[in-house]
Symmetry: C2
Subunit: 299 residues, 2 copies
């Protein structure tokens, strides 16, 4: 089945202690769609300016990502610039130029309105609502978010939560949302806000699923070479949704393995700047690391 | 088989945001010996003053901990006092009174010199050396440490590492020791310093084993009620060594499961002040959480 993905489509200029890479393809929807594409057909909803390099459109197409919902408007593509510290755990934003993203109003092509799997990747909650309003009876809806929306758009986010099947956020955002220091207590509080499944991303420490059948502790694949973690969270949730859309059986039965696939897909994302590494990966590479992860956690 | 445990035997006064508990039984050897005692006979090497409450000697005895190597000297028992922040991840030391610990020179009773499993719990590396010098042909020697020894006794610690089978430290200590930001690269560097097995403790994020057959990602048991994490690391390594000493087969075959048992034993430690919770636990409670952890990680 297909996955509909709305989020940002951007050019990222990324600085790390060892390198600097200007105007890479980035944005939550780009990362999530490429990740999902390894498992299922992905449908991208986004906007770029007329400065958007053709090579990046070609990249989407190589991943067979449906671009009917990608608007190309006169003006500049959303441009983000950030810098990482030596340990790759902290980054600071150097610059944000919204460009055509400022007035982005996603409109779903009619053929997309019945997509069964919907990923509301990291973007303003108002836009996540706007897309969800246009989808008819989706099978499974997941939203990702970031601290920015907790700070400036909390009411819209709180209204979104009851509309979701799954909600993904990181550990510090879970703390910010619930004022709860204990992660597992925070999870209980987030369920009360609406979503049946809540997933906490913990970066190199893996992720935690909380659902009707309890917790799942999902490991991260051990990496010795973290080049650029930008987009790893988007890749995780994109890979997870792509795998879910490809799997037979119930969501409940497939979600754990879907998280493992998301986790492994995200590991490739971290090994290169932007999408440079992951676009050279094949499905067999992902399957190999999933098998490894099975061995690394067996006891 | 038996586990010989040397470390500190102390009185801990612990403050958290919600409570204050003076003069609890504490110290790395106390925590590790009680944890080990669930699985194997533990032999304690330590020193206390003549102010040491009889009820704590009784507590050791209830856990069938061999006290032939526990010296009781005129003077005061080592007293540590610390305070935790709201999230239980940071603590600061308020007071350290060494007392009789200042001149502690552990002497092994003759009957202990052939103990097959040796745990050099957190204590000055010079004392870890001193105990190891007195042991004859041990089967498996593991040392734990802390940042203090990296700061003030690094040469002795570096001389200890080649004498160990296993070395246990936390993630920030691994970074401090190797100047390496990436945990898995740090692990490789620590192996070069001597130990065949290196275990990184990551608190609520679990732990990582690195050995000849690669990595093992060991989860932490999900806790909603963390009352006092003091001694959790000591409990982890004590439980691990106790389980190892009880298990048939090779170390290599048992170490992963031993870490799981250590992790679960440590989860009980966190649920009460000092040793108050763990001394009310039975082996069946531990086995139950191990089974749960199997379910929580299966995919």
């Amino acid at each position: 089945m297909s996955v509909l993905i709305v989020g940002s489509t951007a050019l990222d200029s990324i600085k790390t202690p060892t390198a600097e890479n200007p105007r890479l393809l980035g944005g939550s929807a780009s990362h999530a769609a490429v990740a999902a594409s390894f498992f299922s057909p992905a449908r991208l909803i986004g906007v770029v300016g007329d400065d958007f390099p053709k090579k990046y459109l070609d990249l989407y197409r190589r991943h067979k990502i449906n671009l009917e919902g990608l608007q190309i408007l006169p003006g500049k593509t959303f441009h983000w610039s950030g810098e990482y510290e030596a340990n790759m755990n902290h980054r600071r934003t150097l610059l944000t130029e919204l460009g055509v993203f400022e007035t982005f109003t996603p409109t779903l092509p009619a053929v997309h309105q019945a997509t069964p799997f919907v990923l509301l990747a990291n973007i303003a909650p108002a836009l996540q609502h706007h897309v969800l309003d246009q989808v008819r009876r989706p099978k499974f809806v997941v939203a990702d978010t970031m601290d920015l929306w907790l700070n400036i758009a909390l009411p819209e986010l709180l209204k979104l939560l009851p509309r979701l099947d799954g909600f993904v956020l990181n550990d510090s955002e879970a703390h910010q949302l619930t004022q709860e220091d204990n992660l597992f207590t925070a999870l209980k509080k987030i369920h009360r806000l609406g979503p049946r499944y809540v997933i906490i991303k913990k970066g190199s420490h893996g992720s935690i699923l909380s659902g009707p059948k309890g917790f799942f502790i999902c490991p991260a694949y051990p990496l010795t070479n973290v080049v650029d973690p930008t987009g790893a969270g988007d890749t995780f949730v994109g890979g997870m949704m792509g795998y879910l859309a490809s799997a037979r059986g119930t969501i409940e039965a497939n979600l754990r393995r879907a998280m493992i696939y998301g986790s492994v897909t995200a590991s490739f994302c971290c090994e290169g700047f932007g999408l440079t590494r992951i676009t050279r990966v094949r499905r067999a590479d992902i399957d190999r690391r999933v098998k490894e992860l099975e061995k690394l956690t067996r006891f």
